[in-house]
């Protein structure tokens, strides 16, 4: 096998490839959710490996909230072009018409309408019966209990108390008309595994992960990168240039940057090993209420 993958990364890679192929073999119409972040990049790379020399037999779907960093959109389009993969971009036009935004509507409503509802619209529109997501169990407590093949009702809801037991590597892929399964091929990877794999396999990631001088606003102790003019400045506020980067990617007004000088993969891995805060700490939507992520997931968020 390639370069210098450790035994344990080799195992994780083989397990993920097995899962991805299982979906392609057993579902009528699968799709891969592509969120442009590092986890999606790894998942997509694994899909390319799973079917080589064929191309992955499913399209990518990006649910665009219209508030992603411009660099993300550029990276997304380049990636699809480079790999020659069909990319579907879905925007909740109804939400756009209603003027939903993280600024005017707050993070809760924005996420509900532009991500959760938008995703449901896209899945219903194309009749997808399986959707890959790049979530990992080490990210968040409710994710630790989710299956690799996670059943969704026809309304896209998740019932954590009624999950199918998942034994060995034998996945139950049966669904009725309208029902679907969310599949998480990198469930067993940790953040460190992801970065070490990105490095070993030389996988392109969005430049925002690497430190650079960027204009930021400091609000309530969080550094916000003002990606365009839509984010209004408060009276007396001016963006300041700071050396920093993001640890996870989301909608730019909802993604806190960290002050960091990590400009290479080596630096990022070293910084992460020394870090005393968890990965999703910069994600404002996780903490807006108690049991926050579990609630969102029950409603159909990824």
């Amino acid at each position: 096998m390639p370069s210098g993958l450790s035994t344990h990364l080799k195992r994780l890679e083989a397990e993920s490839i097995h899962i991805i192929r299982e979906v392609a073999s057993e579902f009528r119409n699968p799709v891969m959710l592509y969120s442009i972040g590092k986890d999606s990049s790894v998942m997509l790379h694994l899909a390319m490996k799973a079917f080589y020399p064929s191309k992955p037999p499913f399209p990518l779907l990006h649910v665009d909230t219209t508030w992603k960093f411009r660099e993300m959109i550029q990276f997304r389009d380049e990636t699809a072009r480079r790999l020659g993969i069909n990319l579907i971009v879905h925007i909740n036009e109804d939400g756009v018409k209603r003027g939903i935004s993280p600024i005017a509507s707050g993070s809760n409503v924005h996420t509900q309408v532009m991500k959760t509802e938008s995703l449901r619209q896209a899945l219903d529109k194309h009749g997808f019966d399986a959707a890959f997501g790049g979530a990992r169990r080490d990210e968040e407590k409710s994710r630790a209990k989710e299956r690799v093949f996670s059943f969704r009702t026809a309304n896209h809801t998740w019932d954590p108390r009624n999950q199918r037991p998942e034994l060995w590597n034998l996945y139950n892929t049966r669904v009725k008309q309208g029902e679907s399964i969310r599949v998480f091929p990198i469930s067993n990877w940790t953040e460190l595994d992801v970065w070490q794999y990105v490095q070993a396999e030389d996988i392109p990631v969005v430049p925002l992960y690497f430190a650079a001088q960027r204009p930021v606003l400091e609000r309530d102790g969080t550094l916000i990168m003002r990606d365009d003019e839509r984010l209004p400045l408060l009276p007396g506020e001016t963006p300041q240039m700071r050396l920093g980067r993001v640890r996870t990617l989301g909608c730019y007004p909802l993604t806190g940057a960290i002050e960091s000088g990590a400009a290479s993969l080596d630096d990022i891995i070293a910084e992460m090993l020394a870090s005393t805060t968890s990965e999703r700490q910069g994600r404002l939507i996780d903490s807006d209420e108690a049991g926050s992520m579990e609630k969102k997931k029950r409603e159909g968020y990824f």
Binding site: P2, H8, K10, H18, P53, R164, P165, W168, L273
Partner: protein
């Protein structure tokens, strides 16, 4: 809090080097309620510095709200993820946790101890190489300890750690420790473990979890973490015969045809001879393809794409193996089964069986005995309920390749799927193949079903009348047969009277017997269809699964389901045989509609609402339906 462990490593190069030698250990923790499993895992995460400042802050907040440890941080809250559990103070499902030391990375399955969640424990155990079984030092070896150990052994775990927890609450007593060790070893003699390692500890105080404790001077063994870092659990799948279940046929263009899959066991090299399990056709491996280039060798656990030297017909579900060490190929085998859904198992009912990459229809043909998980006693059984374990015989719709589970966990494990609800109904482990059926080859006859039916100027089929007792099934069916007789058609009527008084007189009216009753009726009807006959069947047949079974047995297009739809109140009012009166008085148990369910058909070919229709007109509708289906001539 202290810096993460790995941060002390001087350079990333050193980290990368350490990482490349790192192996992976998957283990499961199990124990009774309040034995402290979640606390133990919380302790491992905490002591290996995998808890970050923001998580710690959230934990402190949660400890004040939900904690059970007073002013101290409740480590269990780290692990008990779901909101509902936090409020109840219990773990309800399997949760997976990840941590690493310089030597190993670990995936921990945390599974609950309550009786009703046996299935979750089996789930966690299915991928684990080692089990940590918690025993409360104050309580010793409990019934649940035995149950969990038995399930671990059933799922093929060979290495056991007996974590004798809360040792601080028995004053770090060596005597207590020794007594528990002895009791456990006595019990475990009948289970098939390779190693049993008892370790005294306190998850709450941290004693002997990751650091030795001064309070345990009599103990000289490793701490739990030391043991987990060192223990060798590799059953070495590489040394077993090569097995390659084909997952996906890889055909990007006309010039490439490969077979993608994960090596279940063994090794393979270009040039190796292989056979295809289903057909016995043979070839040689031409190349092992990956995106990183072709490989000289692939081993157990690798996901690759294999090309062969010859054009051989291969599909998903086939298994490639060496000609000298082939898997068994059969359509009958014995197995251990763990029942995992609320709906009971009924022998004779049709399920889907998934083994490696193959999915086929299957039925449990015999329930040899169930196993009491507390005493390991073998008990007679007619059905299985949730969390029950049994030894069974299974028949599959097509021959499949497998190995005994004790030889190969990858090609000896299967699941059963409920065809109605799609629930995962059972987990199974193959014991051995049954040769009986493989030696009875079906004899292809020269005069077949179609030929026999042609002589009778008809197409053979089953007309299946289903409905409540007193719904009018027999009345309508009798009229239909009269009309067909007048038309010169060859018919046979099967109903409760001519079947239950003869062929099925050994059966009663329990759910299990009802399933067997319909299975036999289906087989008889099929023989009549083979004889070219139009078979009219009148059975309450309350369960969708059995109607589906007969439909499948007879074949699509030759099965016409007629649902005689009469409201229960009307049937009770008619009560032609006085049965409802007696059932409602409690004199007849398991009476459909009263004390036993009737599942309305969703996909009947014909629904006859009898409310205000004339039976003769309804019979005419059945005949018209047969004509429109081309079964008889107009």
């Amino acid at each position: 809090m202290a810096q993460p462990l790995a941060a002390s490593l001087a350079s990333t190069a050193a980290i990368a080097e350490a990482a490349s030698e790192k192996s992976l250990l998957r283990f499961i923790t199990c124990g009774s309620v309040d034995d402290g499993k979640s606390t133990l895992i919380g302790r491992l995460l905490y002591d290996t510095k995998l808890i970050f400042d923001d998580q710690l802050a959230a934990l402190e907040k949660d400890s004040r709200k939900y904690g059970t440890t007073g002013p101290a941080i409740d480590l269990a809250l780290l692990v008990d993820g779901l909101e509902a559990e936090r409020e109840q103070g219990i773990t309800i499902d399997v949760a997976y946790r990840y941590f690493a030391t310089a030597k190993r990375t670990f995936i921990v399955a945390d599974t609950p101890g309550h009786e009703q969640y046996t299935r979750n424990m089996a789930t966690g155990a299915s991928t684990a190489g080692l089990a940590v079984i918690l025993v409360d030092a104050r309580k010793g070896v409990l019934t649940q300890t035995k149950r969990h150990s038995f399930i671990c052994s059933l799922l093929g775990i060979k290495n056991i750690v007996v974590a004798i927890n809360k040792i601080d609450l028995v004053d770090y007593s060596h005597v207590v420790f020794a007594e528990i060790e002895e009791a456990y070893r006595d019990f475990a003699e009948q289970l098939d473990f390779d190693s049993i390692t008892p370790i005294p500890m306190s998850a709450l105080t941290g004693a002997n979890v990751t650091t030795p404790s001064e309070d345990l001077p009599w103990y000289s063994g490793p701490t739990l973490l030391e043991h987990l870092e060192e223990v060798d659990v590799d059953t070495d799948l590489r040394l077993k015969p090569f097995r390659f279940p084909v997952q996906w046929v890889n055909r990007p263009n006309l010039n490439f045809r490969g077979f993608s899959g994960t090596l279940a066991s063994g090794e393979v090299r270009p040039g190796d001879p292989v056979v295809v399990s289903s057909s016995g056709k043979s070839s040689r491996v031409a190349s092992i393809v990956t995106m990183d280039g072709e490989l000289d060798v692939a081993e157990a656990g690798d996901s690759v794409t294999i090309t062969l030297e010859d054009e051989v017909d291969i599909a998903r579900g086939d298994v490639l193996a060496p000609p000298t060490a082939r898997p068994e190929v059969a359509n009958q085998f014995s197995a251990k089964l763990i029942w995992m859904e609320e709906e009971r198992l009924f022998p004779g009912r049709s399920y889907l069986l998934k083994l490696a990459t193959r999915t086929v229809p299957a039925t449990v043909t015999g329930l040899k005995h169930k196993i009491d998980v507390n005493t390991l006693d073998e008990l007679a059984a007619k059905t299985l309920a949730l969390n029950e374990i049994a030894e069974v015989n299974i028949e599959t719709g097509a021959a499949i390749a497998f190995d005994p589970y004790s030889d190969n966990r990858e090609t000896g494990a299967f699941i059963l799927i409920d065809r109605e609800t799609n629930a995962t109904a059972a987990a199974g482990m193959v014991l051995h193949g049954l040769r009986r059926a493989t030696n009875i080859h079906r004899h292809a006859t020269s005069v077949d079903r179609a030929a026999r039916a042609r002589i009778k100027r008809q197409k053979a089929a089953v007309l299946w009348f289903t409905g409540l007792s007193g719904s009018g099934k027999s009345t309508i069916a009798d009229l239909v047969e009269q009309k067909l007789a007048v038309r010169g058609q060859h018919t046979m009527l099967l109903d409760g009277d001519n079947i239950r008084h003869g062929l099925n007189k050994d059966l009663g009216f329990t759910d299990a017997d009802r399933v067997e009753n319909i299975r036999r009726v289906g087989e008889v009807a099929k023989l009549f269809v083979d004889a070219g006959t139009l078979v009219i069947c009148c059975f309450i047949s309350p369960f969708e699964a059995e109607r589906a079974l007969v439909r499948e047995l007879v074949g699509e297009g030759e099965f016409v389901e007629v649902f005689v739809d009469t409201p229960l109140e009307t049937c009770i009012a008619r009560d032609p045989k006085g049965l409802y009166r007696r059932a409602l008085a409690g004199e007849i148990p398991n009476f459909t509609g009263v004390s036993s369910p009737y599942e309305r058909p969703d996909n009947a070919e014909l629904v006859l609402a009898t409310a205000d229709a004339d039976p003769d007109a309804l019979a005419e509708r059945v005949v018209a339906e047969m004509i429109s289906r081309g079964l008889i001539e107009a």
